[in-house]
Symmetry: C2
Subunit: 651 residues, 2 copies
């Protein structure tokens, strides 16, 4: 082997710089970091090269579809760690990266300064510096003018002085070529609208909104209900599926295998001869009625969220239009959904692995785009964990590239890593285990996980106190203090939370031994007295009102637990990013009377540009004020009156 | 936009599975993990897909230049975390990855078992299962034979039983198509020979090995010295540069700017008319003499390490042959090395950014390959942190692809991340801050950093007690106990350590106020009495002998500190991977008498396949035995006698 003739090779991966340990990042940049528009993003990285050269670095970012980068200089902090902050001003998908390069002129300047200090001759150095100036041709006109002016001055005087002017250093930083610029991988970032982070959800079945017993509710009935829901302070009104319901193998009351005449069936058995996922159940009304509902919602600041369940009743039109999307059994019969030994004869799952999967994927995306065109921007996705991960990643991206304001909530109650995987691949929000977390240690442990790293960068919890499928054991006693405690926990621990209608009426009748509702309205029409005595609507209104008035409660990852010496009281602090709004919360988890110390420690409140310790607190529900003494508060909770104390901290 | 005609797109990055949080990994796979041949490598990863399917996963690996993958099944542990272990059996560069796929047949089998348990009819399921068998066509002949046999049996009997046979499940695991196999990124791995991890280094200047005062030592003189060095128990004999020394601007004694007649110059001013980096200094002998030396080393189990300094004296042949590799100043003069305000007039640095950098890179690599051809397999690289990172990454790779047994030690004393960066990009071993760490807290903190994650996967420390450039303050008192304490610390904390000759003679005369040797042999020829009274050669021999006899001391990252209630005694345990060899060490860091408790806690020793607590310990230097009482040892150290206690733990 003749070595001397071997061709010089560069290492593909190696730039002049190592750019390492970038923050924030998720799985090495495989998935996007999530933020909300207007939120500053602090970026950190280790950046270094060989030698003693002066280096510079910049944070660069752009929307995925844009061409031009925006730039901000990175600042060296300590030990080769650099930082910069940027604030994307639009919603949508971004990429960001880090660039580093050698500042040749600053390196020269630094050397000359050291030589001058040591009394060395710098005549030749000055010539070399001027040589660098003559090569400068980048940057703005202003910078170039400074370069030319200082160069001229040097040539006239022969003195090094003009070459050492600080403004020349800055101008050359802009004007000289960046010969060894190294760029990190491009890292994805999703900037959502505010509602992705913050909102109170109210879930209901539109067909249960009639006021006439036994009568199928309509969108018009829903419109009549809006003032009540809006008055409770909710932001999002989430409807279970609104599509035609299958007749074949329809389920009867309480999930019985045979429907009786008149049984409406489960809205999750989607599709009938009237249409499929892009149709409206005729008994709810028309698409025009739905438009009227959307319009009425806007008037009371409610936003509609629709339920997307990727499953078909046996009489869904797709089974005839696209028989190849569905599996058949060896005897030619339909392959119904099953999770052995459970069978779901009223549902058929499309086969994501079928040969024509491409058209299936497109059709499912087009269902979303259809509803977006109608004006729906929030989708709660039913059981996403049983459909391919890469389908969701593709579909959410497809939709958000066209409509960056669309949000997706993943209703997956499954293993933790799969739930987190769905959040990583693009779901804007996720259901959680909160629904079953009742003990202080497990609530605090779980919240520390969700608000810690890396989860806080991609997992946005939506805390539901109940769902049509889940009546947790702790609510089955029907105790008002427990309902209050749960809604206070959900609404203050998480900036996004929800209740399923009936909760405000303390509904709590289970199928014996199960965490399920008896006579579930999933299988029958229900008409309620929404002002039934004993309801906790005023309490929910008060809590939601406190959330709206206090930016500190509109974030989740700002949560900081405090040490309460009572195993059945959890206490925590939330601060708005600018510290102007600080909220202290204590919530009882047991029905007995509690008296305890709430330490405020080093908590500070910003007022008039100054940070001060907490001097007093104001009860957000009653308006009462207490002075802070000995750095904390001696508090009492009588859960029968109110299990939660919410305070605004005053400086 | 006609949505229905849009082409189906897949997400490039997305497979059916998420494969996350792989261990071991360095910077997302950007740099290789390091191991030594024969060391088992435990691999972990989170692996999941949607749904309830039964999945399978495998670890795959191969040498970079090989085509075929080796495979080992991954085992599910808990919570979607999988693991497997592999042990590469050759040295060299490997890649490894994780593959996951759906086991369609096992999924079918699991469903049928649940249905049978629930008493459901499985006639159609059996047909579906048999259908899977007919598609099986991969795997070995044995597996296929089982598939065919069970299929026949089902067809004859019509019973599902033959389809549920465990051997069929295993055979189908091998034979069925893996339709949705997802492979992780390929992760690099460097498997080195044992010497990369373990070895005692002796550094010397070959020209100082003459026995005649004032006479330039030769390779023949070095051969005469070998028995003495081997008897001390060293493994590697490291020579400062052996090349011709420049005459232009040669430095005089004590680094003076002007050499007197007869001054030999610094061996780091490489190159003269006699040759450059691939030549031997004539006064040391010929290349043949060097070969004789290498042969003599082999006889006493010593391995030569050469010093590579990428710098040239002004009369290095390259300056004439490749003037374009070197920068000139505006007046046409040579641009000497400098680190303002320091100047190095006896050295010129080649310019890695010159237009002809390709030929420079190749020439530097060829220098290494030349010495490898002579039989040298270890290179200590001088100041690698002042040459481009990507040059080293390229060069080390180029050399190791041809000669995977070649090792590189990075002599970089610089900022921590740059030192770690050099280790990541490929240096087999690295110098450390140990040379200056004297306090218990800082020794333990630094060792915890080096033996923790991720450092332990790429940074192999080589603990030097002194170097020609560093006579640390704590040695300047010349106290024998301190020299013993330092060599004991270096040799037991790190499996690779070194001394620079003269240490064994307690040489300690500094340039006043500096951590540098007075009359440094970098600038003059030295002749020593290697058996000078008061030398600590017997002590070094005893320590090295203990290292050789105890596998526990041949690793670094197995270090575990124990809690010694004495601020000037550090204590630790090291265990061989199989626990058959366990060593307990206590070393005094101050000269006063120490008495302290050494807790052995839960330390276990494996003997005859059984793990037992420590019953007694045997002093590795004196052979004395002590019984363990109350789970530990009451120990006494008189540093004037011996500052270190090394015990082998006995069950």
């Amino acid at each position: 082997m003749n070595r001397s003739t071997q061709v010089f090779q560069t290492v593909a991966a190696g730039g002049a710089f190592h750019i390492e340990d970038i923050f924030p990042i998720i799985d090495s940049g495989r998935f996007p970091v999530k933020r909300v528009v207007g939120e500053p993003i602090e970026v950190w990285a280790d950046i270094y090269r060989d030698g003693h050269e002066v280096i510079a670095a910049a944070l660069i970012w752009r929307r995925e579809q844009d061409q031009d980068w925006q730039r901000a200089p990175l600042r060296h902090v300590v030990n080769d760690r650099w930082t910069a902050t940027f604030t994307p001003d639009q919603i949508g998908r971004y990429v960001y990266a880090i660039e580093a390069w050698t500042d040749e002129f600053a390196t020269w300047r630094h050397g000359v300064e050291l030589k001058l200090k040591a009394g060395q001759d710098v005549t030749l150095d000055a010539l070399e510096g001027a040589g660098l100036l003559t090569k400068a041709q980048h940057g703005g006109a202003e910078a170039l003018a400074i370069v030319h002016r200082q160069c001229d001055e040097y040539l006239q005087t022969g003195e090094v002085g003009p070459l050492l002017a600080p403004e020349l250093r800055d101008a050359m930083g802009e004007s000289q070529a960046r010969l060894d610029v190294t760029r990190s991988a491009l890292l994805p970032l999703m900037i959502d609208r505010e509602r992705a982070r913050n909102g109170a959800w109210y879930e209901m079945m539109p067909r249960s909104q009639s006021t006439v017993p036994g009568q199928h509710g309509t969108f018009r009935d829903c419109i009549a209900r809006l003032p009540d829901i809006a008055a409770m302070g909710f932001d999002v009104l989430y409807f279970t599926p609104i599509h035609p319901i299958g007749r074949v193998n329809r389920k009867g009351r309480n999930n019985s295998l045979k429907a009786e005449a008149g049984d409406p069936g489960s809205p999750y058995a989607i599709g009938a001869e009237e249409g499929g996922h892009d149709a409206v159940h005729p008994e709810l009304g028309t698409l025009d009625d739905f438009h009227a509902l959307l319009k009425a919602c806007k008037l009371v600041n409610l936003e509609i969220a629709l339920d997307i369940a990727v499953q078909c009743s046996p009489d869904h039109p797709w089974l005839k239009q696209h028989p190849d999307w569905f599996k058949r059994r060896p005897d030619g019969s339909m392959k119904y959904a099953e999770n052995p030994p459970k069978k779901y004869e009223d549902i058929v799952n499309p086969d994501f692995t079928c040969e024509d999967a491409g058209s299936l994927w497109n059709a499912l995306r087009d269902v979303i785009l259809f509803w977006v065109d109608q004006g729906v921007k929030i989708f709660r996705v039913d059981n996403p964990h049983t459909k391919p991960l890469r389908f969701w990643e593709w579909m959410i991206r497809e939709v958000q590239l066209r409509h960056p304001d669309v949000l997706f909530l993943a209703e997956a109650f499954t293993r933790p890593k799969l739930m987190k995987g769905l959040a990583k691949l693009g779901f804007s929000q996720s259901y959680t285990y909160f629904t079953w977390r009742t003990q202080k240690w497990e609530i605090e442990e779980y919240l520390r996980e969700l608000t810690g790293y890396p989860e806080r960068n991609f997992y946005r919890p939506n805390f539901f106190v109940n769902t049509p499928d889940i009546l947790p054991f702790h609510l089955q006693g029907g105790e008002p203090w427990m309902f209050r405690s749960r809604v206070a926990l959900a609404a203050t621990l998480s900036s996004t939370y929800g209740i399923y209608s009936g909760f405000e009426l303390l509904e709590h009748e289970p199928i014996p031994g199960k965490e399920e509702y008896l006579d579930s309205e999933k299988y029958e029409i229900r008409v309620r007295d929404w002002d039934k005595p004993g309801n906790i609507k005023p309490y929910i209104r008060a809590i939601n009102s406190a959330r709206r008035a206090n930016p500190a409660l509109q974030q989740t990852s700002n949560l900081r637990f405090v040490d309460i010496q009572d195993a059945n009281v959890t206490g925590f602090i939330k601060q708005s990013p600018d510290l102007s709004n600080v909220v202290a919360v204590a919530i009882a988890l047991s029905r007995d009377f509690h008296e305890f110390w709430f330490p405020l420690g080093d908590v500070q409140v910003e007022i008039g540009g100054e940070r001060r310790p907490v001097a007093a607190v104001e009860n957000l529900l009653t308006g009462e004020r207490h002075a802070v003494e000995w750095g904390g508060l001696n508090l009492r909770i009588d859960p029968q009156r109110d299990p939660a104390l919410l305070f605004r901290c005053l400086a």
